[in-house]
């Protein structure tokens, strides 16, 4: 069991590293948010599930699984709130982007202040 746990933890740590490289390399806030949220969420969940495999079903493992479920629920929500907030505060997309339907609809009046 503990070998499976170690493998999962290693993969999770490597995904965390990829997410942070994306945070540094990608050009604008939305792309950084994508890369960082996806990679770090799955990476940390894999670390936690690996911890659960490593120790087996005892107090540590069960709490790790609860923590993983909590992160899976909340992390995308935080990313969504942040993307919406930064779009509404006027942060532009990267200049190489291919269209922004959300801003068009906001200027056209289809999207109102919260519905």
């Amino acid at each position: 069991m503990s070998e499976i746990g170690l493998v999962l933890i290693s993969v999770g740590v490597v995904f965390d590293l990829f997410g942070c490289i994306g945070l540094v390399r990608l050009p604008d806030i939305y792309n950084r948010l994508q890369a960082a949220t996806k990679c770090v969420t799955l990476g940390t969940c894999m670390i936690l599930i690996g911890v659960a495999f490593y120790t087996g079903l005892d107090a540590i493992g069960v709490k790790a699984i609860i923590c993983a479920v909590f992160i899976l629920l909340t992390s995308p929500t935080g990313a969504h709130a942040l993307a919406r907030g930064s779009h509404r505060s006027g942060v532009p997309l990267w200049e190489g982007s291919v269209g922004d339907k959300y801003r068009e609809d906001k200027e056209g009046g289809e999207v109102h202040e919260e519905a």
Partner: protein
């Protein structure tokens, strides 16, 4: 030995987050970096829980995940330009 490798990779990731906190051109960039840093700390606490063999590190991890989520939501609401309760 392998634990030291995990910890150093996580610390490297944390340093990259701190670089983004320092260099980020806009406030949302810094907020993303802080959110990601919080999630990294959760993983860190879980690994510490294995090494020390105590379950209260996982309590810290859950509390940290909660705090990181709330901080992100509150800063996102601030970025939308709205008050605390509206």
């Amino acid at each position: 030995m392998i634990w030291w490798m995990f910890f150093s990779i996580l610390a490297l990731s944390g340093l990259m987050c701190l670089y983004r906190v320092g260099a980020g051109p806009t406030p949302p960039d810094r907020t993303v970096a802080i959110d990601i840093f919080g999630t990294l700390v959760v993983g860190f606490c879980a690994l510490l829980g294995i090494i020390e063999g105590r379950d209260f590190f996982l309590n810290i991890a859950i509390a940290w995940a909660l705090l990181s989520f709330l901080g992100t939501v509150a800063l996102a609401k601030y970025l939308e330009g709205r008050g605390f309760d509206e």
